[in-house]
Amino acid sequence: MLKELVKEEFTQDIAKGAVLVDFYSSTCSPCKMLAFILKDIEKTLGDQVTIIKVNFEENPDLIEEHKVEGYPTLVMFKDGEELSRKSGLQQKPVIIKMIEEAL
């Protein structure tokens, strides 16, 4: 599943299973390309991973809480624990590997 952040649900959402969080900005060009790649990944892995998109500008509290410095930043959670993180645009197979390590 791929969805935009619903703030009240975030803590509950990342608490269980494999969750990939994409901290993005609507004005950032590499973020747009990453969004395209994530949509593509959702087609094949969407039933195993939840992808949550968090807007950088609108969520300063989450940015600070998760110490996100730039965008795009991908953070992979498994049962609420951060497993891995990558900043900057990533190759599709690298993102798939991040997800598979959390399954």
């Binding site: 950032c28 590499p30 390309m33 950088f56 410095e69 730039g70 900057g88 599709k92 197979p93």
Partner: protein, 312 residues
């Protein structure tokens, strides 16, 4: 072994155009890309000089080109090419990701460039934290902070203009004047939070206790008049080096590692062509990259036709 008429290395505007022209010439085409389709366009927020596109975001233009290529039947794979070989009329392509060897009749190298670095004290220590090469990626953390851009060419002026909308102050340090197009330079100079230091040479990234504090520079000509500017982050735009390391053992590279090609985009290896920013050329833009890609693919098609005539 997978076999193609044409393997295009790199999916920037040059590679994607080459792939489109390749399939339209009835070639079986594979395009290989190590990161994502789009190349340098992905790092460009607004492209304003690609005819017909008006003001367009780089990734949006990249996706339009990519979808166009896919609709026409270009095969695409995420792979980083590490070596090519030319054995008689056939080419072999090796990649970092696995042991597969891909065979092709022709190759178009369209691998673009990466940013040049200064190689001065402090650069290694602060790269990735206080020193960046991508304003669009890292600019956000400098809201209301003091930022320096090193360089005065097209990229420095474009990215500087973007950073000036975020940062409290933007200082540009360049070893010449601003050399981008005059309209963009005048606009940047006119911004109230921008200060330009021309004819300077940056000599050190300064830190204290592991924390970045600023940059030291001198007069370019005399090496004197040392100054330090305190700032929170630096963006370097001092030119580009080609992604051609994997061709080092071939004979097709010229000065600076750029590919030497003729007006047909032919290298000295028959069947291997170069296109876009990785070529030795004067103007590195999306429009010149796409033009190179079109020419290279047409020539690849002509080369294959000649090969097939030779076979009968």
């Amino acid at each position: 072994m997978r076999k193609y008429d044409l393997v295009v290395i790199g999916a920037g505007p040059a590679g994607m155009t080459a792939a489109i022209y390749g399939v339209r010439a009835n070639l079986k085409v594979l395009m290989l890309e190590k990161l994502a389709p789009g190349g340098q366009m992905i790092n460009t927020n607004e492209i304003e000089n690609y005819p017909g596109a008006g003001k367009v975001n780089g990734s949006e233009l990249a996706l339009q080109m990519f979808e166009h290529a896919q609709e026409l039947g270009v095969e695409f794979d995420y792979k980083t090419v590490t070596k090519i070989e030319s054995i008689e009329d056939s080419k072999r392509i090796y990649t970092e990701e696995d042991d597969e060897v891909i065979e092709a009749l022709t190759i178009i190298v369209a691998t673009g460039t990466r940013p040049r670095t200064l190689n001065i004290p402090g650069e290694e220590e602060f790269k990735g934290s206080a020193i960046s090469w991508c304003a669009i990626c890292d600019g956000a953390k400098y809201r209301d902070k003091d930022v320096v851009v090193i360089g005065g060419g097209n990229s420095a002026v474009d990215e500087g203009t973007y950073l000036a909308t975020i940062a409290k102050s933007l200082t540009i340090i360049t070893d010449l004047e601003l050399t981008a197009d005059p309209v963009s330079c005048d606009y940047l100079r006119s911004l109230p939070n921008v200060n330009v230091f021309p004819y300077k040479r940056v000599v050190e990234f300064v830190g204290k206790g592991g924390e970045f504090t600023g940059i030291k520079f001198v007069d370019k000509e005399t090496g004197e008049n040392e100054q330090v500017i305190e700032c929170d982050g630096v963006f370097e735009y001092i030119g580009a080096i080609p992604y051609t390391d994997f061709l080092e053992k071939t004979t097709i590279l010229g000065s600076g590692g750029f590919l030497e090609v003729n007006e047909r985009m032919e290298t000295t290896i028959p069947g291997v062509f170069g296109a876009g920013d990785c070529n030795s050329k004067h103007l590195r833009q999306v429009v010149t990259a796409t033009a190179d890609g079109a020419i290279a693919a047409q020539e690849a098609s002509a080369y294959i036709k000649a090969l097939r005539r030779k076979e009968v």
